[in-house]
């Protein structure tokens, strides 16, 4: 089966600019996750969706970050405006359902904010 697809793979922007990341989960996977991975660290959860509902967004910096998952399939994560500290790899993952054991990850989007 096709894996989790993310685009773009790389993005370089200047601070204060907006940026958006797109994710297409594995077909049939109802749960979608966005993680941020800082250099030298493990991924940290930003938001989790069950179908189109955001059920855990406690770690999402809501002043500048937003996400949506229309129709319960693809998802978009947006940052506006971006700050230097947002430079990281943004990973999308999916699983069949919330308590499905295994999450499958996409290749990530590497963001550099100058």
């Amino acid at each position: 089966e096709a894996g989790v697809v993310q685009s773009p793979r790389y993005k370089i922007i200047e601070k204060k600019q907006p940026v958006a990341f797109w994710c297409n989960p594995i077909s049939g996977h109802n749960t979608l996750y966005w993680y941020r991975q800082n250099l030298g660290q493990g991924p940290e959860l930003l938001i989790r969706y069950e179908n189109e509902e955001a059920v855990d967004d406690s770690q999402l910096p809501k002043d500048r970050f937003s996400a949506e998952r229309l129709k319960g399939v693809d998802s978009t994560l947006k940052i506006q405006p971006a700050e230097l500290g947002d430079s990281a790899v943004y990973l999308c993952a999916s699983s069949r359902q919330a308590f499905e054991e295994t999450q499958y990850f996409g290749p990530g989007t590497r963001l550099l904010v100058l």
């Binding site: 991924p43 855990d56 054991e101 999450q103 499958y104 990850f105």
Partner: protein
């Protein structure tokens, strides 16, 4: 709260030798435990998991891990390392009651020819 510790930033091993990458965890309930591997500029690839049952779990590419409840450990092992095993390895834990996965900081495995 749940947490994972990977005490070694880097593990060096010669090709053909056995390897061990260490992981200890902390959860208030019963754990689900995972190992993922990350190659440069790639996402995380699932290696293996412990959910219940046999404490020795076998996964992809010849890797295995042993769940030790008394020591709260889940060390990753392979009997004979390959140069192509060189990558960044992450241990992760999830309390069975929750969906959130908590990752360790990662351990870089370097296998020399």
């Amino acid at each position: 709260a749940q947490s994972v510790a990977q005490p070694e930033d880097q593990v060096n091993v010669a090709e053909g030798n056995p390897l061990t990458v260490k992981c200890t965890y902390s959860v208030s309930g019963n754990p689900y435990l995972f190992w993922y591997v990350q190659y440069p500029n790639r996402g995380l690839q699932f290696l293996l998991k412990y959910i219940t049952g046999d404490n020795l779990v076998k996964g992809s590419y010849g890797f295995e891990a042993e769940f030790n409840k008394s020591q709260t450990s889940f060390h990753l092992k392979k009997p004979s390392a390959l140069v192509s095993d060189s990558a960044l390895y992450f241990c992760a834990v999830r309390d069975v009651r929750y969906s959130t996965l908590t990752f360790g900081k990662g351990t870089m495995l370097l296998v020399s020819p």
